[in-house]
């Protein structure tokens, strides 16, 4: 079973790897874990959001009419402490928005592995180690 800290750190890296800022990535990870702990699919909506955001300019547009990023709108609503009713149509990863704006139950079992897409996005934050860094002692200890 994946641990909570593994889910948080990997999903955070995945969101950063898709181009979100670290602060937004942290929100994405917290929302994904909240969905999983509520017994829902957390990785699915996260992947939807990451695929939608990949290669686009950030910040993502949340104007009605175009597909709206559930993370971007969800974080905005959570910052204001309010959820508008009704929500606009065409929200990508709606469950992430829900997790950010409502209290979910906890205690469900966590999955045993990450979907490959999450790991691929997470690898996007990695930098090949340079010879200079290694010579200076990185990796010791």
């Amino acid at each position: 079973m994946l641990t909570r800290s593994e889910i948080l750190s990997t999903c955070k890296n995945a969101a950063r790897g898709a181009g979100f800022s670290w602060g937004m990535a942290s929100e994405a990870a917290i929302a994904t874990l909240a969905l999983i702990e509520a017994g829902e699919d957390g990785f699915g909506p996260l992947i939807e959001i990451l695929n939608h955001a990949k290669g686009k300019e950030h910040p993502l547009n949340i104007e009605p009419g175009a597909p709206i990023c559930g993370l971007t709108l969800g974080v905005y609503l959570a910052d204001l402490g309010a959820a508008p009713k009704p929500l606009p149509q065409g929200i990508v990863g709606l469950q992430i928005l829900t997790a950010l704006t409502t209290e979910l139950s906890k205690g469900a079992a966590r999955p045993d592995a990450f979907p490959p897409e999450v790991l691929e996005f997470a690898a996007g934050v990695l930098v090949p180690e340079s010879e200079l860094s290694r010579r200076q002692g990185a990796g010791e200890g």
């Binding site: 602060g23 204001l80 090949p128 860094s133 200076q136 200890g141």
Partner: protein, 546 residues
Amino acid sequence: MKLRPPSTVMRLARMGAMHATRLSFMPTFLRHAKQQGWEFNQAEWEINSAGVGHACYRVDMGTRVYALVAFAHDLPDDMRSDRVIAEAWDATFALHDGIPTKQDIDRLRANVPLQEAGRVSTKELVLSRANRSGRMWGHVVDALAAGQQPDKTMVREIGYLMRTTAVYGSGKFGAADRIDIRDRPEFKSSFQVEMLTVFLIREFVLDLVEHMARMKGGDVAVPLTHEMRRMFGIGNSTGLGMAPFLVNHPALLHRWMHARETALARVLSLQHPDETKKRAVQCALITACANAETWTVQDVVQAKAVQGLRSGLAKILNNYAALSREAYPWSALLAFAENQTCLETQEQLVACLLEPYGDMIDDLADDLQFEEEALPRIDGTMSTSNLKGLIEEKFDWMLKIDFDKKSTQDRFWYYSENKYEPRLGQRFEEPGAELEFPLAIARDINMLHAALPKDGSLAEFLLKHPKFRQAAFRVQALHDLDYAEIHDNLLCETLRPVDMLRCKLSFFGATKFDPRSDRWLRIVMYQYAPLAQDLMAHEAKFADAI
């Protein structure tokens, strides 16, 4: 009661000179173990004449039992490496929650020796590994096998037979998350599960070296004397992987620092300490002098600091009689040290002043945890002008740094492709700066301040500028936690990451800090500390070593 201000305490130069105190996590663990009457025992020993096999050490806390499962390996000399990317070790360990079954041992045998490449379960709390000290191990086995005790001077100087290269807790590689155990009284203070693990590793290593001596010397071999066993701690080799912790756990860092500074303030406020305490502080200073004499390092910066410590302590002791007669003698002593001695000496003095005052300060060590997720989330209804005002009021030192200068942004922190390990790169010479991870707190808050408009809500601003989200969060969540932020630029070309490591390790209770470069160091844990048998013995001379 006035505490030393964060502008004094939270500078890296001082954090890199901090020493273990009685509030550190190892002494706290030892006190709890003694007070609670925990029972330690070696439950299994299945190690062959080549030193290969497994052992199990249990601690019975009355309400719960934990077990260290230790695997001993026959590692060829050329495979022994302190690098975190090593793939084989002399010994590997897991701390199991409860009494392990045979199936548990089999499962752990298949995974623990692989460390990061294996997988443990939520029934495990810590994963660790250790390598022998090349200099010490062979000498001790040979000496004991020949019926003699090892060389005391050498033991005093090196201080350990094995050094750990990682002690993973908190949900790493499948182990239980901290949230699963944080309500257990025995783990209420910081890093107690890791301190327990290292303490049991020390017991195992001492038993293993005696076992190997018996295998070699047969009837001639002798065990280590009790005095000699206590002289051995466990070494540790720590690098950049640990550095981001203090930045990523700012509220916890505040707790640690605030507890330490509160303890100091309580002691400094004493107008007329009694003679017993005066003698105890003097004794602590004399012990610190003796320790400084056996503290040998190659690193030029640290060697100079050790030299400064030796002469600084001598100065303090020369003036001790006069200063300790004054009203508020501990304040007078610290003021003298601040005027006349180096940071290394000042911080050693702080540790010595706290040492005899357990009855006044130990309560501060009992609740040193904080879960960062408990910090309030962003309040987007705050106006941008209010946030700007908060930065000017509480983070003004960050605004004084000129981040247009190349030297102030010379470094960047990143995750290496090697095992996701944190690294420090040179921004203008190496690729990857666009992927830097967010340890540039001063720069980011400085830039946030410059970007904040006069009007509007924070939520609107962050919607358009999500890159400032983390900086805005820290300003809002941490502005009342004085010791949460390191008051230095972590991108600066003069940054010495070992200062961050030293600070954290001093809170652990480590000694013999030995920087091997500006980004990794070796230390010793539990040297001279009581053994399991001492903790269980009613008449043990317990307090003298912690």
